[in-house]
C-alpha cells in the first residue's frame, strides 16, 4: 500500500472550480510542458539511436556469419 498523499483538501468539492481557474491551470500546464518540449535534447539520445542502427547494419551486413572474420 502506498502512503496517501491526498491529505490536502482531500474532500474539497471538486466539481465547483471556476471555469477561469480551470482555464488558467490549463494554460500554465501547457506553458510548463511546452518549455520542456522546446528544451534542447541531450546528444546521448541521438548517439544511442545511431549506435543501435550501426549495430543492426553490421549484423545485417554479415549474412549467415561473417566471412571477414575468418
Amino acid at each position: 500500500m502506498s502512503q496517501s498523499n491526498l491529505n490536502i483538501n482531500q474532500h474539497q468539492d471538486e466539481a465547483q472550480l471556476d471555469d477561469r481557474v480551470v482555464e488558467t491551470i490549463g494554460r500554465a500546464l501547457r506553458a510548463h510542458y511546452d518549455d520542456l518540449v522546446d528544451a534542447p535534447l541531450p546528444d546521448r539520445f541521438f548517439e544511442l539511436l545511431a549506435e543501435l542502427e550501426r549495430r543492426e547494419r553490421d549484423t545485417a551486413g554479415r549474412p549467415g556469419g561473417s566471412d571477414a572474420a575468418k
Binding site: R20, A28, L29, L36, F45, F46, L49
Partner: protein, 177 residues
C-alpha cells in the same frame, strides 16, 4: 530492424517523451535515463507497435512502466530535494505572464504522481482521455476524477481561492497583455 519511418517518428517524439519523463519524475537527469531506457525498449520491440495507433501514447506507456517498476522510490527522494528541477531545462524569456511558472512547477511536484501524470497527459501532452486511461491502466472515469482532484489540489497548493483569485489572475493578464 525498425523501418525508417518508425525511426523518424521515434526521433520526432523524443521531445515529448522527455517532457513527460521530467514531469513524471521531477528530475531532469533521471528523466534522461528513463528516456534512454524507453528508446532502447521501443527500438527492440518496434514490431509490437500497432501502426495507426498513437506512437506517443505507446512510448509514454513504456516510459511510465519503467518509471513505476524501477525508479519510483529513488526518484521521490530526489524530487523532494530538487524542487526547482525544471529550471535548468527552461529556455528563459518565453514564459506565460499571468501565472508564475516556477510557482506552478513547484505546486506540480507536490501533487501525488497519479494526479500529476494525468494532468500532464490530458492537459498538456495531447493524448486523449482514452489513451491516458490505457497508458495508466485504468478506466476513463478514473482519469476524469483524478484530473478533477488534481486541479482542486493545485488550487489549494497555489492558494488560489476560487473566484476572487480567478479575477486577480485575469486582471494580471490584462495588465500583462
Amino acid at each position: 530492424m525498425p523501418p525508417n519511418d518508425f525511426k523518424t517518428d521515434l526521433i520526432a517524439e523524443m521531445p515529448n517523451l522527455r517532457a513527460f519523463g521530467v514531469s513524471l519524475c521531477g528530475s531532469a537527469s533521471m528523466a534522461d535515463d528513463l528516456v534512454q531506457e524507453t528508446l532502447l525498449r521501443a527500438w527492440s520491440k518496434w514490431d509490437k507497435f500497432q501502426p495507426g495507433t498513437s506512437l506517443r501514447a505507446w512510448l509514454f506507456t513504456i516510459l511510465r512502466n519503467i518509471y513505476y517498476s524501477n525508479c519510483r522510490k529513488s526518484v521521490r527522494e530526489v524530487q523532494d530535494s530538487d524542487g526547482a528541477y525544471a529550471q535548468r531545462l527552461v529556455v528563459p524569456g518565453d514564459q506565460e505572464s499571468h501565472v508564475d511558472l516556477e510557482d506552478f512547477r513547484k505546486a506540480l511536484t507536490k501533487l501525488p504522481v497519479e494526479q500529476r501524470e494525468v494532468l500532464i497527459l490530458v492537459g498538456a501532452s495531447g493524448v486523449s482521455y482514452e489513451e491516458a486511461a490505457a497508458i495508466c491502466g485504468v478506466e476513463v472515469g478514473t482519469i476524469k476524477s483524478r484530473l478533477s482532484r488534481a486541479r482542486s489540489q493545485l488550487v489549494a497548493i497555489l492558494g488560489w481561492g476560487a473566484r476572487t483569485e480567478a479575477r486577480g489572475e485575469r486582471s494580471k493578464l490584462r495588465r500583462a497583455g
